[in-house]
Structure formats: structure tokens, C-alpha cells
Amino acid sequence: MLRYAAAVAAALLTLLLSELLRPIILPNPFLLFFAAIAISAWYGGIGPGLLTTGLTVVAASYFFQPPFYALKLDPLDIVRLVAFSLVALLISSLSEMRRRDAQTAHMQREQLQVTLASIGDAVIATDATGQITFINPVAAQLTGWSPAEAQGQPIGAVFQIINAETRQNVESPVTNMLRTGVIVGLANHTLLLARDGTERPIDDSGAPIRDAQGALIGVVMVFRDITARDHAEAERTRLLADAQAARDTAEQAARQITRLQRVTAALGAATTPEQVADVVIQDGLAALEADAGAIFMLADEGRTWEALSFRGYPPELLAGYVRTSVDAPSPLRDALETQAMLVVETPEELRERWPQLAELQARSGDAAIAAVPLLLDKQILGMLYATFRAPRRFSADDKALLEGLARQGAQALERARLYEAERVARMAAEAALQTRERFLSVAAHELKTPLTSLLLQTQLLQRRALRATTLIEQDRRGLQVVADQARRLDQMIAALLDVSRLDLGQLSLTRGPVDLCTLTRRVAAELQPTSASHTLNCLGPEEGLIADGDELRLEQVLQHLFQNAIKYSPDGGGVDIEVTPHDGVVCVTVADQGIGIPEEALPQLFERFYRAPNADPRQISGIGIGLYVVREIVHLHGGSVTAARRPDSGSIFTVYLPQWTRAPEVEAPTQAQTR
């Protein structure tokens, strides 16, 4: 609307001006109106231009075309007016185009300004001489120069940069670029020096500005404050370092654990204190990269250090270390007093603390040492000693490793000591058994030698007496008693030897099928003559119940059981012997009518040297080994034996033996031509 009003005003103003200058412009009244149209079209566009044109045509026709002050047009006037209108139209169009171009350019510039102003990075543009033509608010803020102040300043005045490390001025990339025409970036670690002295690390990029012909007309530089990024980077670097350190620590701990585990494994195999010491020093101190090490044990009731193992010390110095008094000033003494680990990290400290050892230290080249008590239940067994030829800082891990080594070493040493003691005790026990065995063997041999001639001579006399019939009956009986007693003595010696063999586990079985029916009958028949007052009754089948066993040993078992039955039935009577099959086993029961077994004697009846309290030793002789031998032999067969009281009187013994199940063709070969 305003543009049209301006167009009308321009037309009126031109009319007024033309009226005032009437005498001058009359021959060419449209002259001024062209200017009005041009102005209207320039400012208002094509519309106002055409409006001014229209108004001008009317006004010019009325005021300045004869007849004046009347709208009377001859054909020539009309032609003239049309020509004017066409020219005016042309002017309006051209003006309109110019106006549009200017407007677009303006908008674009505005847009660029806004863009540059609102960009997050700092932007500075210069002309070809390096004078600032543009600086955006971010750049203004970073440099401390307002855009107005900065405008026209040389770039070097506003954009001052220095190297962060050398603190030397750095040439601005802009001047560099203007000088060389090559794009230059800032080196790392560049600081921007603001007007107020503030320093900021920056990062930049620049580009030349060239005109259409490619001539350099300026430079635009973009840069940014990287303080935050630098901080973040520093933080990241620190975190990485922390992580690395943590990883290193973990790896070291893992390595130490592995070493300790290796030491543990090696210690498990070490059985003597010397072996333990070697493991601790070789494997343990190697983990610490110690140059030498030793284990000292407290000896002589804690008065002397006795070296158990050495490694890495000069041979000529060892003699002095083998036995030393605990009172001699040394790291050992100090660690013993405090009962705690002692570490010395430098040779100076070593010299200072133990001046007496300075010479020794110089010769062995010790620079750092560690002395760790070998503690077991708060008692010091000895000392683990490690020597280093270079000064050494002991980390917490090092100390933990030393503690671990000392702890494991102390336990292993104690274990080895106990093992040694146990071994010695076992050897002594074995030796004692061997001695007893040898004694019994020799004793049996020596006892049997006189028995042999005794029995032979007696029996010879008996035979001669039978032939000659010169001996009176009393003498004959006397000879019989001598012979019987000699045999009895022989049986007792045999039983004692059996006990000894059973104790030593030397009694072995030669197994085969044993017909218990025939065996019981044979043994009973052999024993029957020894007692007139007893009757051995063999019940059950006469043959065919086969046990898996050693016939000689089973014969012994039956002999003991039958003799027992006779012995503990002082008043005589029947002894019932029966063999019965029983679900995979063969049973032999021996029942007598004797004095029986007291209830309280039952649990111990088969123990060695046990005798039932109701067996009066004056009446019934015996040393309490028969039933022990029975039980042991039966157990060796995998069988069992029980004893029970009979309801009325007497005892009943039952032996259970495994039945013979193997194929008949693998029968054991018969042995023994005689017994």
C-alpha cells in the first residue's frame, strides 16, 4: 500500500515540480516524469511504476499538452503518449529487476551473516592484506575483541597464538597462507592468547577466498576452543593409564599366584626339610628375582641359626653362615625379635643398620635383603632370607609373596618333620616286628630241636617195651604221658608261631576244594583216642560238602575247635559235630556239653590271649590263642565264626566257609607227601 502511495506522491511531486519549472520543461514535459517512474519502480516495483506511469500520462496530457488544462488529444498526442508509456513500462521493468536482484543479494548477505554469527565455531575472515573483514561472535568472545573493534585490524593483532610447550609465538595460519598461498593448519598444542591474557588451546582450519578469476582476495579461518576436548583427552589418557595399571597389578598378582601354586605343588612332593628348603629358595625366591637366598632353622633350643639350604651365595662366604649365633647382630636377629618380616631396600641402609656386616656385605655385593620368619602357630621355626644385588623397592605384592612363601614353607617344613618322625617310628616298629619274628623263628627252632630227640627216644622206648613186654604197666603209661606231653608242647609251639605269622600277615592260603564232611570225620577220628570220656559224634552226610579253602589250615581250625570242646567239658560227654550246606556257604557246628561261655565273655572270646573267666587255669590249661587262630584263619578264607551258649549247658561254635564253586578240572594239585 505504502509503495502505491509513494508512487502517487512521486507522480504528484513531479507534477508540482514540472509546473514550477513549466517554462523550462514545456518543450519536453515527460522528462521529469521518467525520473518519477524510475524511482517508483525502483522502490515499489513494477506495480507502483505502472501506477506512476498512468498518473503521469494523465497529468502530462492535461497540464502540459496543448490545449493546456484540457484532456483533448489529437492523434499525434496519442502516439506520443503511447511511446511515453512504453518507455515508462521499460523503465519500470528494468527497475523492478534491479530491485529484485538487490533484494536477493541483501537477503543472502543477511543469511550469511546470521549463519556465520550463529555458527558454534569461531570464524574470522580477512581481506587479501590480512585485515579483518568479518569476525563472528564466537571468535569475538574467544579473542576478546568485539566485532566492531576487530573490524579492519590486522589478523595478527586479534588472533595471537603461541606454542603450548615452547611458549613461542606461532605465525598465524592466515598470514602464512597469504604469504605462501598454501593451506596451513595449526600445529598441535597451540594456545590462543585472548586480549585479556586468557590462554585457550585451539584447533583450526583455514581456507583461501578467491574471486571468480581465482585471485586470492582473502582468507577465512575457522577455529575452536578445545579446552574441554583437551580435558576429556587428558581424562581419557588418565583412565587408560589407570586401567593399564589395574591390569598390570592383576597380571602381576596372577603371576604371583601361579608361582605360589607352582611352589605349593613342588612343596607337596617335598618330603624332607632339605627338599622343602630347596623348593622355597629355588622356585619361591626366583619369583621375586632374588639373586640369592637361604633358609635358616633355629637349632640348639633357639640359640643357633643353622642353614638348611643356600643358593646363590659366594662359596667362600658360606662357611661363615652354616652355623651362627642368634645373638650376633644381623637382619635375622632383628626379624626374630620383632617376629615380623624385615626388608632393607638400599645398601646404605644395610651399612647403617649393621655396620659390623659392612665388610661381608661389600664382598657379597648385597644391596637389598628380606628376612621373613617361618612362623607356625606363632612359633618361629626358622627364617627365609633373600638377597638382592641391586637396590630394590618391595611392593605390597612382593611382601605378600614373601609372606606366602614363608607361610607355605613353614607348613611344609613342619609336615616334612612330622613325616620324617613318622617314618622313623614306622621303621622302628617294622624293625621291632622283624626282631620278634626272628626271635620266634629261632625260638621255635630251638624248642623243637630237643622235642625231636625227646619224642623219638620216648617212642623208641615205647616200641621196645611193647616188643619186650618187660615194662610194667605203670612205666608204660608213664612213657605215654611223656610222649603225649611232648606232642602237646609241639602243638603249642606251632600255635604260637601261627599267632606270630597272623600278626605279621605272613600266613597265606593255598586254596582248593576241601570236603568238610570227610575232613571233620578224619580230624575227629584222630582226636578221639586222646580222650576216653568224650564222644565225638559226626552228624550229617559222610561226604560231598565242599568248601573253598586251604585244607591244612582248615584242619587246624577243626583241631582247635574239637580240642576246645573236649578241654572245656571236664566232665566228659558228647561233642556233636555237623556239617550242613547253607546258601552258598558250608557250616560246621561244634556243640559240647561243657562249662559253657559266660555272656560277658562272648565279645572277647576270639581275642588273642583271652581266656573266659569261668575257665579255672588250675583245671583247664591254655594260653588263649586257639580261638584267635580259628577266627583269623576263617577270616582269611572270607568266612566267619560265631560262638553261643547252649540253652541247657555247653557251648556251640559255628564256622561258615565259602562253598567251592569253581569248575572241578581246576582243582588245586595235591600237595604234601606227609605231614
Binding site: 623243637k448 622235642l451 625231636t452 623219638l456 611232648a486 605269622r501
Partner: protein, 133 residues
Amino acid sequence: MENGGDPRGVQPAPGYILVVDDDAAIREALTLVLEDEGYTVRSAANGRDALQLLRANEVQPQVILLDLMMPVMSGWDFRAEQQRDPTLAAIPVVVLSADRSLQTKAAMVQAQGYLAKPVDISVLIDMVSRYCS
């Protein structure tokens, strides 16, 4: 085995028995018992004496009753020597011992028989009669 031929013509004497035992009482008892049964008995106190006796005589015993544990030369060593000597190897040996594992030991010296001390007179006579005609 009895009266077997011998390469050197040394003949076993019928009823001749050699007793080898370090115990004098046993030697005497065995001698008395066996002589009572009609045998000819000679005795030695150890293996070395027994070997000397055997080698010095033209006649050989029909059986040797041999103790194992003896001083100077044991029954083991005697048996080994005897077996090495072709003139003596054929003489049967019965081991007479108080050893606890007599059966095994008798087998080890390859004895023809064994008797456990103290031996019963009838068992002894029975054993000896097997080797003597």
C-alpha cells in the same frame, strides 16, 4: 631209584642211611630208632663232614636224612654240592627240619621228601622204608 647203576660203580649199600644234623641228641635218637629197625646208620654234624664221608666211602647210602640249618655247611649248600657231584647226585634226600615253611624249602632243594621236627617215630620209619630195600 633204588640200587640204580652208577657210572663209577659205587653201589648203594642196602639199608645204609646217612643222617646229617648238627644236634648230637637228634643224631643219636635217629641212629637208635633206625638201628632198632635194622638199618645201618652213619651220621655227620654238618654238610662238609657229610660230603667227606660220602666221598671217602666206596658205598653210598640209600637215603640221606638232611637238616637244613647247620653251622659250617648248611643243608642247602650240601644239597647243591651233592647235586653237582655226579657220583652223589642220585642219592635221594629227605629234609628233616623244624623250619616253618618246610614244604616250600624242601621243594627248593629238590628233596625227594620232607619230615617236620619233631617227627613221629612211625612217620619216620614209614618214610625211610620207602627208600630202603
